[in-house]
Amino acid sequence: MAIILDHVSHAYEAGTSMQIKALDDVNLVIPDGQFIGLIGHTGSGKSTLVQHLNGLLKPTTGNIYYNGADIHDPEYNRKELRSKVGLVFQYPEHQLFEIDVFKDVCFGPKNLGLSQKEVELRAYEALKQVGIADEYFYQSPFDLSGGQKRRVAIAGVLAMKPEVLILDEPTAGLDPKGRDEILNLIAALQKERGITVILVSHSMEDVAKYVQRLIVMDKGRVMYDDAPAEVFKHYEELEKMGLSAPQVTYIMHALKKQGYPVNADLTTIEEAKNEILRVLRL
């Protein structure tokens, strides 16, 4: 079971002189349980793409299938789809509104029409998963720190128990520590629950460490769709799109040019360290 995008295009302000083509003939298959990175420069269409996956935006042309059903079929229950495909927006803390943290996380599951007991159980579980301690449960969400607010907002989507979790720039505006915490949390969740995770970002460093598959977008088109190491081989083309490969890629390629027999297709610092040590020991 999977999400399938079939020749999806989307234009904003279609039919006016301000028409902007945000997506241009996108074809993707997203199978269950994958951890995917979606990368692109600002304005490349990645946010537009993810809003199609849970039916918030309708493609101008093309079709989207979730588990084999066309999500824009008039008969299709899009409300249910939104509980299956959870979308965490950029700066999700801007959506908090309830008087306390716990109630805010309850909002999502409550909208699914679950019993009060089930709602609270899910909220509790989700808050625990994102690492919010009990003492914060009955505080106003607006009194929390930036990183905590974001965790609460992510918990708000997690509590709906989505099968696919999409996060649009979940680390924007966080300090390095907060960024690592959020990314580790997402990776742990993905492993634990076995759900599909799509991580939208413009930073290669962020995603290279975690994802199995990398989709690179530019000007509304999918440019690369492969394992990270394969994508980073095109580091020169990536630069032309205003992106860059992780720094280790550059270092390894530079070493190779200097005549060291290293394998340059590495993505993480750990791998690079081991490779350099291996070569030095030769």
Partner: protein, 266 residues
């Protein structure tokens, strides 16, 4: 969904109207509105329609785009037309139950409807062809003489500029928050009025918080640049009348004269 509101929006294009001095456009719009109430027969309305059509044509704003903004006033338009249709005394034409449509009423209703449509089209043409900054600059300059009687003209203009500037930002924000809550299963469409109002809370609370946050940031940014109100403040681009403005004023005077002349015709 929310992007369809065109009121107060600017439409980017290259045209004589776009490049005109904002003061000319404001005066022109006021003159046009006055002319709407001067005309009292069909010839006057034909002249007005021709003038409006010509200006819209020159402005290069697509007519379709302007009509989209009219959707918001359909209700007002209907109420006006219906009231005029049924409540004007005169020679009756049709009688339905207790309501009578009179000849005068029919005439009045048609004229009022046209006036209202022209009024909205005319004034939205001004906002569509003038950036909010230019508009407030023009207003400040036109209202300048009021400073003599201690009206805080600059402050009012600044408030207007900020308000106009924030309309698109807050609309965008509304759109974003709405989507985020829909993604969490919120429902903004179904239910009765009370339920609908209640369902708005997840939208309104974050929206207000964000508006206050933005207001705070803006105030800080303005203070950081030593903004202290209008006294002794100069402009980077002072408003200057050019040849096309003189031509526009001339056309305006001719147009007004024509409308006044039509009053004598029938």
């Amino acid at each position: 969904m929310i992007r369809e509101i065109t009121l107060g929006q600017y439409y980017q294009a290259e045209s004589v109207i776009h490049h005109m001095d904002p003061r000319t456009k404001i005066v022109g719009t006021i003159a046009f509105i006055v002319s709407l109430f001067l005309a009292n027969n069909w010839i006057g309305y034909v002249v007005m329609a021709a003038f409006l059509a010509a200006v819209i044509c020159i402005s290069k704003v697509p007519f379709k785009f302007m009509v989209r903004g009219m959707k918001s006033i359909v209700l007002l338009l209907l109420i006006t037309v219906i009231f005029n249709l049924f409540l004007t005394p005169g020679t009756p034409i049709v009688k339905i139950w207790k309501l009578t449509i009179t000849q005068e009423g029919l005439r009045q209703a048609i004229y009022m409807g046209i006036r209202l449509i022209f009024l909205i089209l005319g004034s939205s043409l001004m906002t569509l062809t003038t950036t909010p900054n230019n508009l407030t600059d023009g207003l400040e300059s036109l209202l300048g003489p009021l400073k003599l009687i201690h009206v805080p003209v600059h402050e009012v203009a600044m408030m207007m500029a900020i308000a106009l500037r924030f309309i698109p930002i807050l609309l965008d924000e509304t759109d974003k928050i709405m989507k985020a809550q829909i993604a969490r299963g919120a429902d903004f469409e179904s239910g009765n009025l009370i339920k609908k109002a209640k369902n708005m809370i997840p939208l309104l609370v974050p929206l207000f918080i964000s508006a206050f946050r933005r207001a705070n940031d803006l105030a800080m940014a303005m203070e950081a640049r030593c903004y202290r109100g209008g006294k002794n403040r100069t402009k980077m681009k002072p408003l200057k009348y050019k040849g096309r403005d003189a031509a526009a004023y001339l056309v305006l005077v001719l147009y007004l004269a024509l409308v006044v002349a039509t009053k004598k015709l029938l």
